[in-house]
């Protein structure tokens, strides 16, 4: 693999790692493991942990995918590996 391609792959892995840490935090951590303590904080009629499990995690997933798509398309151009 040529050097820019290597750098591109490294940047890609870094980005995906950060996004997957957030993915883990909002679902497994906030929605399941820490649900009890978080429920002490209320968001309207629901505990925060309950809200993350049934609403918040899904909204976060959406943001994560679009951030990934936009950042990756920028990386494609930066390293000159974009299509056409």
């Amino acid at each position: 693999m040529s050097d820019p391609a290597k750098e591109y792959w490294k940047a890609n892995i870094r980005l995906v790692t950060i996004l997957l840490v957030i993915w883990f935090a909002v679902s497994y951590l906030f929605g399941i493991i820490l649900v009890e303590p978080l429920n002490a904080i209320r968001i309207g009629g629901a505990g925060l942990g309950f809200w993350f499990a049934q609403q918040g995690s899904i909204y976060t997933f959406l943001v994560l995918i679009f951030v990934y798509a936009i950042r990756m398309n920028a990386l494609d151009r930066k390293f000159g590996v974009h299509e056409d």
């Binding site: 997957l20 809200w51 499990a53 959406l62 494609d76």
Partner: protein, 593 residues
């Protein structure tokens, strides 16, 4: 207008639309048949993916599951959406760059092994067939209830409709039909939800209604729900009942299972570019999230409505329980289907609905109020969404709309699954293994014949479902999670992964998951053949069989990596192939070898 006339009108109208689209979008080449010529716009593909993914289970069953399990049902909400994050970041763009037609084709080429390809075909067919049985059954149930025809006739009508547009149009026809089906199903799901949220909380947006106060008081809707269910001896709606370990593992199994399901993955082969594949996963989740974030509101509000219909005043006052003779029309209608049943155990002519499995509460209720057991002896979870508009007294056209929506959800998923099955038969088995020199014309014909055959098999199994139909869904996700997902991911992210490692990983992941499920649920789900009782004290580390797919995936990764370290590295040209799929540059618009 009469309800039955409206239903015929709505269902007939949507079916005419689907067939019209099919005739307009006929497939002329194998490229169009397998991947819609790779010319589908990412937003359109996102919508089609959403319809493909959201089955009769999402549309009909999920809200009912939430209504009765409360917080614990969160695993399905997170599990069936979080998989798209993995799909978008770890698989979709790379598989699109690879630019072929099927999932086994990637596995076969990446691991330079026909064995690997055949193992993948096997996993794909088992996972997809188990899934499609449920869809066909859903079609039969929906037709049976709404068109008042026999269950078998319902399945036959469904088969005929899918036959016309899937055989004729292939992926191209399916994609454009699914877009129409998405619009029908999402409209049908959200309209009753908006009405019910308005009635209960005064908020037209169900997602806000979930966390709002009741329209007639300052009590929050969820607090009120917790109160009314605990008053009847049930556990709190918002409280956790299962163990955290099982919730984590089940969520993870569903997420990686979602990302590994072939009929979802092939949808990303249809977009023109790699960057479209990334965005398309995002759009798919947008369209899925509209339903999945509405479902918790539908579930909680349906539970509240149900309890308050039966328990009209303070618990314990005799006149606070619904008089059976005065029960609303919808209860009588659903009683005739057998999905709802009452039994007046204490002969007072009134219905008592409470948790008689709670010994303390049951004893207290008997002593103080003379209650002799829960009298709503059966309430099938699946009726919650279908009966919801009737429970909330919504106009007839909303009920007709829900009927058309449920059918759209079942048909769109069935078509996607049938395409995945037929393409792996005609492309992977026939062209890939048995007749490599087959002409494109004949391969297209073979694809259509395989599709027709798959529809007949699916219809037959839908009419004669094996006794284990409900349990096989766990198996489908377990298979996809423990075999397909790890093989695909390592194929992209581990350049040194070789054929021996990948095949050994797939087989051990697959076997360990299947064996674990069979030990507790019976071999091939035959009752009585289980080796251990399916209860928590016998589970390994307390892990329930449904959650084991994630463990199977870990075993797959570990075995594959260990074996690849001690066996020969993949040949040079395979390592170049991996380097090539990692960069978007040079992705062709279409490729047929």
């Amino acid at each position: 207008m009469e309800l039955q006339t409206l239903i015929y009108l709505f269902v007939g109208g949507t079916f005419a639309l689907y067939i019209g689209i099919a005739i307009w979008a006929r497939a002329a080449t194998t490229g169009e048949f397998y991947v819609a010529g790779k010319g589908v716009h990412p937003i359109a593909n996102g919508m089609a993916t959403a319809a493909d993914w959201m089955s009769a289970a999402s549309f009909i069953s999920m809200a009912g599951l939430i209504a009765f399990s409360g917080y614990d049902a969160s695993v399905y909400l997170m599990g069936w959406t979080g998989g798209y994050v993995l799909l978008a970041m770890l698989l979709a763009p790379y598989l699109r760059k690879f630019g072929k037609f099927t999932v086994p084709e990637f596995i076969g080429e990446r691991y330079y092994s026909q064995t690997a390809r055949l193992v993948a075909v096997l996993c794909l067919i088992v996972a997809s067939v188990t899934y499609v049985i449920g869809q066909m059954k859903g079609v039969g149930v929906a037709f049976g209830r709404f068109l008042e025809v026999e269950f078998e006739v319902g399945v036959l009508i469904g088969m005929a409709i899918v036959f016309i547009y899937a055989v004729l149009g292939g992926m191209k026809g399916i994609t454009y039909t699914q877009i129409a089906q998405y619009c029908v199903l999402i409209f049908a799901y959200t309209v009753p939800a908006i009405f019910i949220s308005l009635q209960l909380t005064g908020t037209p947006i169900p997602q806000l209604g979930l966390v709002s106060t009741m329209a007639d008081s300052n009590t929050f809707m969820l607090d009120k729900l917790d109160q009314v269910v605990t008053d009847l001896g049930f556990s709190k709606y918002t409280e956790q009942k299962g163990t955290s370990l099982n919730m984590v593992l089940l969520t993870l199994s569903l997420m990686i299972g979602t990302a590994g399901l072939p009929h979802v993955i092939i949808r990303f082969f249809t977009v023109p570019k790699v960057r479209d594949a990334r965005f398309s996963a995002g759009w798919a989740l947008v369209f899925i999230a509209i339903l999945y974030t509405t479902a918790p509101a539908v579930g909680s509000m349906a539970r509240l409505n149900l309890v308050e219909t039966v328990q009209t005043g303070p618990v314990g006052q005799p006149e606070a329980n619904l008089v059976y003779e005065n029960r609303p029309e919808w209860m009588a209608t659903w009683e005739t289907t057998g999905l709802l049943a009452f039994e007046d155990k204490n002969d007072d002519g009134r219905i008592q609905y409470y948790n008689d499995n709670n010994p303390e509460f049951a004893a207290m209720a008997e002593e103080q109020w003379g209650w002799k057991g829960n009298e709503m002896t059966k309430v099938d979870r699946d009726i919650m969404v279908l009966a919801n508009p009737e429970i909330a007294n919504l106009p007839n056209w909303v009920i007709a709309l829900v009927a058309a929506g449920g059918l759209a959800a079942a048909l769109s998923t069935a078509a996607g699954l049938l395409l995945a099955i037929s393409s792996s038969i005609s492309h992977d088995l026939l062209k890939g293994v048995f007749m490599p020199n087959i002409s494109e014309r004949n391969e297209l014909m073979a694809g259509r014949i395989a599709m027709a055959g798959a529809i007949v098999v699916a219809g037959y199994l839908g009419m004669n479902p094996p006794g284990f139909a409900a349990q096989v869904v766990a198996l489908a996700f377990g298979l996809a999670a423990s075999s397909i997902f790890p093989a695909l991911m390592m194929g992209i992210f581990n350049k040194k992964m070789n054929n021996v490692g990948a095949v050994a990983g797939m087989l051990t992941g697959l076997t360990s998951t299947v064996v674990y499920i069979f030990i507790y649920k019976g071999w091939f789900f035959i009752p009585g053949t289980n080796n251990l009782p399916n209860t928590s004290e016998y589970w390994l580390f307390g892990i329930q069989p449904e959650s084991f797919g994630a463990v199977g995936a870990v075993i797959n990764f570990a075995v594959a990596i260990a074996i690849s370290k001690v066996t020969q590295a993949p040949p040079e040209h395979i390592q170049h192939l991996v380097e090539d799929i990692r960069v978007p540059k040079g992705a062709g618009t279409a490729s047929a070898h």
